[in-house]
């Protein structure tokens, strides 16, 4: 079952892409494309890229070299859209707060530069896992993209956590899915590029990547389409809500402080 070109293999290859196309359509219907244009672009690009690769894999006249060239083009476009999407996530999380937006921009530029240098270093020292330059280059480029993507997303999560900023539900879901996918892909690519595994073992990592991506697509469905659970109606007999209790305590403490 866990073999290349098995039914499960094709499902994990095609399934998430079809789901992303449906998600794009539903986002369009609900007007979410206005708020998250780069996520919509990412969903469409990723889906079209994977479906094109799958069809090219099935057509006998498409040579291996032509397939890898298609892979390269798709990878480059997807990388550009992904970084635009990360910018969109950053803007949604921090631009609301004027006091943080500038510091955040300075820091993310610094982190981005450091990650590009680190990724270039990692690419320079990456071992060749295939005798073909086209395949090697694709793997190194993927490692580079995943490394920068993971670093930027972890920075956004760290920065938001330090300042106790809670992103909106859809933004959190988009960032969560993207980050999980990037982390797992980074780890598996690092193993594949360095461990010199036989083809039978490499397939297992392909399954891990594809299954993770499928889970991430479901995460995006959940956070973008399923409405959040509404807050419980306040119980009038139980006194003021907890937030107000906190503020009352705050006021009392400050009052006590000033009359000391």
């Amino acid at each position: 079952m866990l073999q290349a070109h098995s039914l499960l293999w094709y499902y994990l290859w095609v399934g998430p892409s079809v789901l992303l196309l449906v998600l794009s359509f539903l986002m369009w219907r609900r007007g979410l494309h206005v708020t998250y244009p780069f996520f919509l672009a990412f969903a469409l690009t990723s889906a079209v890229e994977q479906l094109t690769l799958c069809i090219a894999d099935l057509i006998p006249s498409v040579t291996a070299e032509a397939w890898w060239k298609i892979f390269w083009v798709g990878l480059l476009i997807e990388a550009l859209v992904k970084f635009a999407l990360i910018g969109e996530i950053f803007a949604h999380v921090f631009n609301t707060y004027a006091s943080l937006a500038n510091l955040g921009k300075i820091l993310i530029r610094g982190v981005g530069t450091a990650l590009v240098i680190a990724a270039a270093f990692a690419a320079a020292y990456a071992p060749k896992d295939s005798p073909y330059g086209l395949i090697n280059g694709a793997h190194v480029l993927q490692q580079t993209v995943f490394l920068i993507e993971t670093g930027l997303l972890v920075f956004i999560f760290l920065f938001a956590t330090y300042f106790h900023i809670k992103p909106s539900r859809p933004v959190f879901g988009i960032a969560l899915g993207l980050a999980i996918s990037a982390c797992v892909h980074l780890g598996t690519w690092a193993i594949l590029a360095n461990a010199s595994l036989p083809a039978s073992k490499r397939i297992l990592f392909d399954f891990v990547n594809m299954a993770t991506y499928h889970v991430c697509v479901l995460i995006w469905y959940y956070y973008l389409l399923v409405p959040p659970r509404g807050p419980k109606p306040p119980d009038q007999s139980a006194g003021p809500p907890a937030q107000l209790v906190d503020l009352e305590v705050w006021n009392q403490e400050l009052e006590r402080l000033l009359h000391r």
């Binding site: 943080l100 999560f157 906190d246 402080l257």
Partner: protein, 179 residues
């Protein structure tokens, strides 16, 4: 191989961190009606006294150099404790403000947004102030100003009380007239 190990560790640590945040977020949502955290009271006057450059100048002229450095370090440690508490209080108020931002009342939501903005500004200032305190601990004779933290804290208190008034007009908020 070393590079691969570094990348794998980085990926695993990042994944664990992100999943941890996702888990804590869902826990926060399920306990949305619970208390958002405890505010620790701060003696603003004592903090103002600690950060007053005139006090430092007075001590510098009155005490021998070695004794002044010891006293200055003690004052800096006390200052750091205050700044850390102010930062923690800002975090609690940021959470309270973010929960209040989803309220249907437009004025309360705007007050909550301003509260969160001030809270994150104070947290940022607190982080920078702590950094400067650490530097001052190494060079006790250097001048130090923590006034932005103090001003930020006072403004934050005002915002919190405004939000309290908007959410619950029945609650008397006499303290707002004092600031």
């Amino acid at each position: 191989m070393t590079l691969a190990i570094i990348l794998i560790i980085a990926a695993v640590v990042s994944l664990a961190f992100i999943l941890g945040i996702a888990a804590s977020r869902s826990l926060q949502i399920s306990h949305r009606d619970g208390r958002s955290g405890q505010i620790e009271p701060i003696d603003v006057e004592a903090f103002r006294n600690l950060t007053d450059p005139a006090e430092d100048d007075y001590l510098r002229t009155r005490l021998p150099a070695s004794e002044f450095r010891t006293v200055r370090r003690e004052r800096l440690h006390a200052m750091a404790a205050y700044v850390r508490t102010a930062g923690r209080n800002a975090a609690v108020l940021a959470r309270i403000g973010q929960n209040a931002m989803t309220t249907g009342d437009e004025r309360a939501a705007e007050a909550a947004r301003q509260l969160v903005d001030d809270a994150v500004l104070l947290r940022k200032n607190a982080a920078f102030a702590l950094f400067r305190i650490w530097i001052a601990l190494a060079w006790p004779n250097s001048s130090f100003a923590a006034a932005p933290v103090l001003r930020g804290y006072e403004r934050l208190s005002g915002r919190a009380m405004l939000l309290g008034r908007l959410q619950n007009p029945a609650t008397p908020v006499r303290i707002s007239a004092t600031w």
